[in-house]
């Protein structure tokens, strides 16, 4: 999401739609349009402005994987959507709101990374070419150049499927969490090559989401151990363990003002105020 857009919403399991998730919101002039990805092979656009709650549009999906899509806003009414594609290891890029398929990213035949598990579209201010970071089932993270449709770099960060990743485009550093008991921090060098910078042991295995706060000071992880963990982003020093939920935490998100929200399988969303931004 671009700077200045609305705070991302959480993936909250809806009673009727188990394991659906919200991808994010688009800051539009008139209406706020979140995108909702359900299990019914549909990706819905909701109009939530001024208290409305109506589905505006929907996109048919071709796979029913665990993978959450990613949005990249590219202008007032134009945005790009990355969703898992038809083949089990494919990623589809759509131009929205026209729903035209831009391309399908398919790994090379001998790579066999498994299903994509998490996606992160991003774009540097200097270059107009969007990039896509994808975490795969085999524990690797790959950097795609979307316009060229090729993998720039791919590293094996984890031994288990990558469940969540976030990227700090200013520092060219990213972090990913997987089903295993560690967080991986990696960086992107000038030659668009990914490098593992370090691994950070956790108390309990399983991370379902990772988010860096917009000011890039801290990051939060959503854990299978019901806890939200907060780290210092630069040093990766553990800062806090938030034990409130009584079931798996699915996702975390930061608001623009620094508040942290966590959504859990226990039907609760917790909002936290941590290290307020000065």
């Amino acid at each position: 999401m671009e700077e200045g857009s609305r705070p991302g919403l959480l993936g909250i399991p809806h009673p009727q739609m188990e394991r659906s998730s919200t991808l994010g919101c688009l800051g539009a002039q008139a209406a706020l349009v979140p995108v909702h990805q359900g299990r019914d092979l549909k990706l819905c656009l909701w109009d939530l402005a001024e208290g409305r709650n109506a589905v505006v549009d929907s996109v048919g999906l071709e796979s029913v994987g665990f993978c959450r899509g990613s949005i990249l806003a590219r202008g007032q009414q134009r945005w790009m959507l990355a969703v898992p594609g038809g083949g089990s290891d494919e990623i589809q890029i759509l131009e929205m709101p026209s729903k035209t398929s831009v391309c399908t990213l398919k790994p090379e035949a001998d790579a066999k990374p498994g299903m994509p598990m998490c996606l992160e579209l991003w774009q540097t201010d200097s270059s107009p070419r969007p990039c896509l970071l994808a975490g795969y089932e085999d524990g690797s993270v790959a950097l795609w150049d979307v316009s060229e449709r090729k993998v720039c770099s791919r590293i094996a960060c984890h031994t288990e499927p990558v469940m969540g990743l976030d990227f700090d485009s200013q520092k060219a550093r990213g972090v990913s969490g997987s089903a295993e008991k560690a967080l991986a921090v990696w960086s992107l060098d000038e030659q668009q090559a990914l490098q593992v910078r370090g691994k950070h042991e956790l108390t309990n295995p399983g991370i379902s989401d990772v988010k860096i706060r917009p000011d890039r000071k801290i990051l939060a992880t959503a854990g299978w151990d019901h806890r939200v963990r907060v780290f210092h982003w630069r040093t990766m020093k553990p800062l806090a363990v938030l034990a409130f939920h009584s079931a798996v935490v699915h996702c975390v998100a930061f608001a623009a003002d620094g508040l942290l929200a966590a959504g859990s399988r226990d039907h609760r969303i917790s909002i936290w105020s941590l290290y307020p931004r000065s």
Binding site: D225, R234, L239
Partner: protein, 823 residues
């Protein structure tokens, strides 16, 4: 007798005549002036022999005459109050004892509030202010050498000490502040010090003196209960004066020795309480305990065994004083103390405070005595110690048990140092810490330094410092590891609770839990099942009811096979949850097991606790709402309870929209009424428990050794009774409970009696007043007389208080019923 009247006599006679008849101011003035010559101190004093004769024979008569003339007119004969000044000078400058006696006599004889009375009271105040009381006492001290007048002394003594009372009587509301006891007795103390100073001076000058009058004054003041006032002044002064002066010390010893026997106890207790430490006490008393039998009795028996109101520092100075000198040391009655400590009858009948007092005395003695001295009587000491420990550990009062443990640990280490040390597990509280501190010998004991700061404040300061020093590193977080950036001010939160999650093995169903708890060899699963059980039971009442008794059985027999943090609490909460879910059947099972054989005392007490807690939860108003609210999100919740809130929400919303509110306070919902769930099942909880207490089993005898459980049973029954308020079964429960109490009312164990007393209170609170009077009048009367008896005579303070509370409830009951009764 002297046939020829002396010149003094003639002059006095003439003067008295003039005084009583003359109305001429000048004449009176000159007459008084001529009499004043005999008092000395003027330019033209009379001969010493004449002065003495005047003082001894005529002075009182002249004073009486002066008193009789006192009225406003007479004083007004000369301007500027000259006459009054001259009049007063006779009292203030003449022999103090006679002046004092005449003044007191006149004060007591003068009726009502009057001019004369007030004048004389003011004069007496001046007399006191001028320090003449010292002169009164000093006169008695000097007279000792010649013939003392015992009658005069006695009269003086009574008046000196009784002055505040007498003046209070005479002056009533007009009393002057100087005569208030809180002002007078400190003054008397100051005067006594001055007298002693004079005595010391004259002893230095080689003159013989006696301090016995001062002793009597101090003794009598102490008997009057004015120890704090008079000794509060006397002791600090004497402490300073006796330091480094043998003469002063001897005078001081003499002072205490001369105290009459009947006042000895009052003086000694006052001294022991006021003296800041054993060194000072030793300086003030000397070897008094060896010389005076009465003093020895007070110091070694009365203060140790018969009384227990003194604070620990007092006890320390007393025992320290005894231990300081080799001659006094044999009086340090450790053996007797230990015997008292170990006597089972004393433990049963002495109040807890006295037991603490004796225990402290034992520990202080142990700290003072050397190993060799302990070895002499080692066997006796050990025997008493063991007896005492055994009795205390059997007690059902935790405080008594702890007392036994603390003393046993310390004493056994001292008496039997070579043996393995006794070690108990007890929770440290203020008392035990204080007692342990007593056991370490004080280094100050042999330091020659002045009493200085007492021991307690020093001990209190030290830990303060430690905590401050220890607190600093916590307050300041350790510097961020070599990161100099400014955004490193993020201080980590406490993450100590971050433990590994044993989530994978948590059973999801009640039946799984039962199975895991009974058969699982996988301890993680076992623990997870135990932890999850309460929540599962609450969430799925229907599933729990299917296996409720089985589950209760499993939990009751559950043993802590691995070290699970909070095992007892988990088990108890789970049992309570099961009991609440299926009260009738589980309570029936638990109560039947309470009297079954082959249970440990712990299990039986657990049963009682669980029943009480479950009853409390069941009887709590508004219980349903809470459970339904937290239960609704659960996956197993029946649909009805999720439907109900939405329905209500819709209605509420509709009302909210149609209603205009002018103020927006927080909308508060009153507690909704709901039936007392305990009503229908109270009988299952109560009656099986109360029925079997008098049938001993092989392994379980409530009326015998297992009095701890009996006490707990009495408390539980009381609690059940209390929780059964407003239920229909309360009346028959109350009747049964009163019978139970009646059967056990003279039980020897304090804890049991406390339970019975609280049970009586519960009956009075829970059974409706009319029903109590209709159905249980005899029981109430019996209970009342028993309560009155306990309130007065029970050795335990708590018992007495509970009895008083129950009596108050009875009174209240009477008040409630009286208006109802027909006039």
């Amino acid at each position: 007798m002297d046939p020829v009247p002396s010149s003094v006599r003639l002059t006095v006679r003439e003067a008295v005549h003039t005084l009583s008849s003359s109305e001429d101011g000048g004449c009176i003035f000159s007459t008084l002036g001529s009499l004043k010559r005999y008092l000395g101190g003027t330019e033209n004093p009379a001969l010493p022999g004449e002065q003495e004769e005047f003082a001894r024979v005529h002075f009182s008569a002249v004073l009486r005459c002066l008193v009789s003339k006192l009225n406003p007119d007479w004083l007004g004969l000369l301007p500027n109050g000259q006459l009054e000044e001259l009049w007063a000078s006779f009292f203030l400058e003449g022999p103090a004892d006679q002046a004092f006696l005449v003044l007191m006599e006149a004060l007591e004889d003068t009726p009502g509030p009057s001019f004369r009375l007030m004048k004389m009271a003011r004069l007496l105040a001046r007399f006191l202010k001028a320090g003449r009381m010292a002169a009164v006492m000093e006169g008695q001290c000097r007279q000792q050498a010649e013939l003392a007048f015992p009658l005069l002394q006695e009269a003086l003594l009574i008046k000196v000490v009784g002055l505040p009372d007498r003046l209070g009587n005479c002056l009533q509301h007009e009393n002057l502040a100087e005569f208030f006891p809180q002002n007078y007795f400190p003054l008397l103390g100051e005067e006594a010090v001055r007298v002693l100073q004079a005595v010391v001076d004259s002893l230095r000058g080689g003159l013989d003196c006696s301090v016995s009058f001062v002793s009597q004054v101090v003794g009598k003041a102490c008997v009057y209960g004015r120890q704090k006032e008079i000794l509060g002044v006397l002791v600090p002064r004497l402490t300073a004066l006796t330091q480094g002066s043998c003469l002063w010390q001897r005078v001081c010893w003499r002072l205490v020795e001369c105290v009459p026997d009947r006042a000895m106890e009052a003086v000694l207790t006052g001294l022991v309480e006021t003296a800041p430490g054993p060194q000072v006490l030793a300086r003030l008393l000397g070897n008094l305990v060896l010389k005076s039998k009465k003093a020895r009795f007070v110091m070694t028996q009365k203060l140790l065994f018969l009384q227990y109101r003194y604070t620990t520092p007092v006890l320390q100075s007393l025992l320290g004083y005894l231990a300081m000198d080799s001659q006094r040391r044999p009086l340090l009655a450790l053996k007797e103390l230990m015997e008292t400590w170990g006597s089972s009858s004393a433990i049963r009948h002495a109040p807890l405070a006295q037991q603490c007092y004796v225990s402290k005395a034992v520990l202080i003695c142990l700290a003072h005595l050397g190993d060799a001295e302990l070895q002499d009587s080692r066997d006796e000491l050990l025997a008493s110690l063991m007896a005492g420990v055994k009795c205390r550990l059997d007690s059902s009062l935790p405080a008594v048990r702890r007392l036994g443990m603390v003393v046993a640990e310390v004493a056994s280490a001292r008496i039997h140092p070579e043996g393995p040390p006794l070690k108990f597990q007890y929770e440290e509280d203020e008392l035990s810490c204080e007692m342990l501190a007593l056991a370490t010998p004080q280094p100050a004991a042999d330091s020659p330094s002045e009493a200085g700061p007492p021991v307690a404040p020093v001990a209190a300061e030290a830990p303060d410092k430690q905590t401050v020093e220890g607190g600093v590193p916590q307050v300041r977080p350790q510097g961020s590891d070599s990161e100099l950036d400014s955004d490193d001010e993020f201080v980590p939160y406490d993450m100590s609770g971050d433990q590994e999650l044993k989530s994978g093995k948590v059973p999801m169903y009640v039946r799984d839990c039962v199975e895991a708890l009974t058969t699982s060899e996988d301890w993680e699963r076992w623990e997870a099942a135990l932890r999850a059980l309460e929540g599962l039971v609450v969430r799925s009442p229907a599933a729990t009811r299917e296996v409720s008794v089985e589950l209760a059985q499993v939990l009751l027999h559950l043993e802590e096979k691995t070290s699970v943090a909070g095992f007892e609490g988990l088990r108890q909460r789970a049992l309570v949850a099961v009991t609440i879910t299926d009260p009738a059947r589980v309570a029936e099972y638990l109560t039947s097991q309470f009297y079954a054989i082959n249970y440990s005392l712990r299990q039986r007490m657990d049963i009682l606790d669980v029943l009480a807690l479950a009853a409390q939860e069941l009887s709590r108003p508004g219980r349903f709402r809470r459970t339904s609210q937290c239960g609704s999100p659960g996956p197993t919740c029946p649909p009805s309870c999720t439907v109900a809130p939405t329905w209500r929400a819709v209605v509420d919303e509709r009302i909210r929209r149609k209603t205009r509110r002018f103020s927006k306070g927080s909308s508060r919902q009153g507690p909704a009424g709901s039936p007392n769930e305990f009503n229908s099942v109270a009988g299952y909880f109560f009656f099986p428990l109360i029925q079997g207490f008098d049938r001993p089993l092989v392994t379980f005898d409530l009326l015998g050794d297992d009095q701890l459980v009996l006490g707990r049973l009495a408390h539980t029954l009381g609690a059940l009774m209390y929780l059964a308020v407003n239920t229909t079964v309360a009346v028959s429960m109350g009747k049964a409970l009163l019978e139970f109490v009646w059967a056990l009312r003279f039980h020897g164990d304090t804890y049991v009696r406390r339970g019975l007393l609280s049970a009586v209170s519960s009956v009075l609170l829970s059974v409706p007043a009319e029903r109590l009077l209709e159905d249980l009048p005899d029981e109430l009367l019996e209970a009342r007389s028993w309560l009155a008896d306990v309130a007065e005579k029970d050795p335990d303070e708590d018992c007495r208080m509970l009895a008083v509370k129950a009596l108050l409830l009875l009174e209240k009951l009477k008040d409630k019923l009286l208006p109802l009764s027909p006039p």
